[in-house]
């Protein structure tokens, strides 16, 4: 089970300002997990609320929420699943916020990478190219848009392999099974910039990632302050430092 595979459990007992701290569970799309793990302790330190982080593909988290998972906030990798939750009356519409804009890069497992995305993707030297499954993952759908925009689908499709999430696509390249991957910049941002090649934003529709407060947390103070925290300057700075865009 991926549920609760990452737990950040910070309880600040005895803080004079927050005598009765609340707690929240934040379900996080896998591409944002590393960033979320950096945000969580900041949030706790700032507000005194406890926060637990759980992650998975957005589609899976959505399923879990619909089936009663005890999550308070969903940090989605897209807007579509948030639209659906609001339409189905599972989330607080007014709490919705776009917290990050995802960026696509090419990555070859840490080897220096030179060339345009078009030339690199077309090069048959890369026998296997990992992307997230476009049917379930927004980053996979964006990767397919890039191939279409560059008109290189016919040269690339036969070499594609599909991870169930952008995180699995990353693993596929990291273990050498695939030689090249279309990944989220956030996954490789901390590495040497010569090891990744950015894909121009104009080649795919913006990967806008929305967050929303779920119904069970509508009255939860920690949930409300988390939604405020995510929009605040400190959080935005951290999010940006992981390679995400902030507009939209």
């Amino acid at each position: 089970m991926r549920l609760l595979n990452v737990v950040v459990w910070l309880v600040l007992v005895g803080s004079p300002v927050h005598l009765r701290a609340d707690e929240i569970v934040v379900a996080t799309a896998s591409n944002f997990l590393a960033t979320m793990n950096a945000l969580a302790p900041r949030f706790s330190a700032e507000t005194g609320h406890a926060i637990t982080v759980t992650s998975g593909s957005t589609a899976k988290l959505y399923q879990q929420i619909v089936h009663g998972a005890p999550f308070d906030v969903l940090m989605s990798a897209d807007q579509a699943h948030i639209d659906r939750l609001i339409k189905e009356g599972q989330a607080v519409a007014t709490s919705r916020v776009t917290y990050a804009r995802g960026r696509l890069v090419l990555w070859a497992g840490g080897k220096p990478l030179i060339g345009t995305p078009q030339a690199l993707l077309s090069d048959p030297r890369w026998q296997r190219i990992a992307i997230a499954n476009p049917a379930v993952a927004p980053y996979g759908a964006a990767a397919m848009q890039v191939l279409a925009a560059l008109s290189i689908e016919s040269r690339v499709t036969a070499r594609l392999v599909y991870g169930e999430s952008i995180a699995q696509a990353h693993v596929m390249v990291a273990t050498g099974g695939a030689q090249l991957g279309v990944l989220s910049l956030s996954q490789v941002y901390s590495a040497d910039p010569s090891t990744w090649v950015a894909i121009d934003d104009s080649l795919y529709s913006p990967i806008l990632q929305d967050a929303v407060l779920l119904n069970r947390a509508a009255q939860n103070k920690a949930g409300q302050s988390f939604m405020k925290f995510v929009r605040g300057p400190k959080a935005r700075k951290i999010i940006e430092s992981f390679g995400y865009g902030l507009d939209g």
Binding site: S57, A59, K60, Q63, Q127, R128, A130, N133, P134, A135, V136, M144, V161, Y162, G163, E164, Q168, V171, M172, T175, G176, G177, A178
Partner: protein, 227 residues
Amino acid sequence: MGLMGDLSTAIVLTAKLAGVTTLVLLVMATPLAWWLARSKRWFKPFVEAVTALPLVLPPTVLGFYLLLLFSPDSTLGGAWVDFTGSTLTFSFIGLVFASVLYSLPFMVQPLQTAFEAVDEELLNAASSLGASPFDAFVTVACPLALRGFLSACILTFAHTVGEFGVVLMVGGSLPGETRVISIVLYEYVETLRFDEAHDLALLLVVFSFVVLSTVYLLNRRLRFRIA
């Protein structure tokens, strides 16, 4: 994109994977099961334990090791690329390799139990009539263990059809190559295509029920170890 594509492709692929795995295991596991049934060596329990490991290990353990083993940077994965020009990960042959490990106990254990039930006296009689050990095995033990062979093959086939975790980790969801029906079902659920998911899930329940019923009917008198 055709990613959710053809269910029939996935069914044919799954049957092919299960069939090839069953054949490979039949050849590999028969001598092992025979040795386990007859041996009195002190290390036999350890061999039995290794054989049974896939029953208790999470598929993620096998998936993790296979991911590393299949990598072109590893000895096996690298040698494979040198010989064939393609990688073991995300390939049908890689899945066969994985399934052989994953389904090993389902072939070995019913066979071992069937072989253990073969009366030693019959083998002695065959050998006193001039039969070589191999002759005795083929002409005496194998016919007596026929039901064990049937159970073992049916269970191995069915268990391979039911494989999911390992395939998810080393498969890459390639239509006609690694996208087996358990993966298709997973993608149906993830994309909220519940009608198709229902059909496929029901098909698998019925299939598994028929398989298990067949095995239990076959083994009304011959007990074996896998419940």
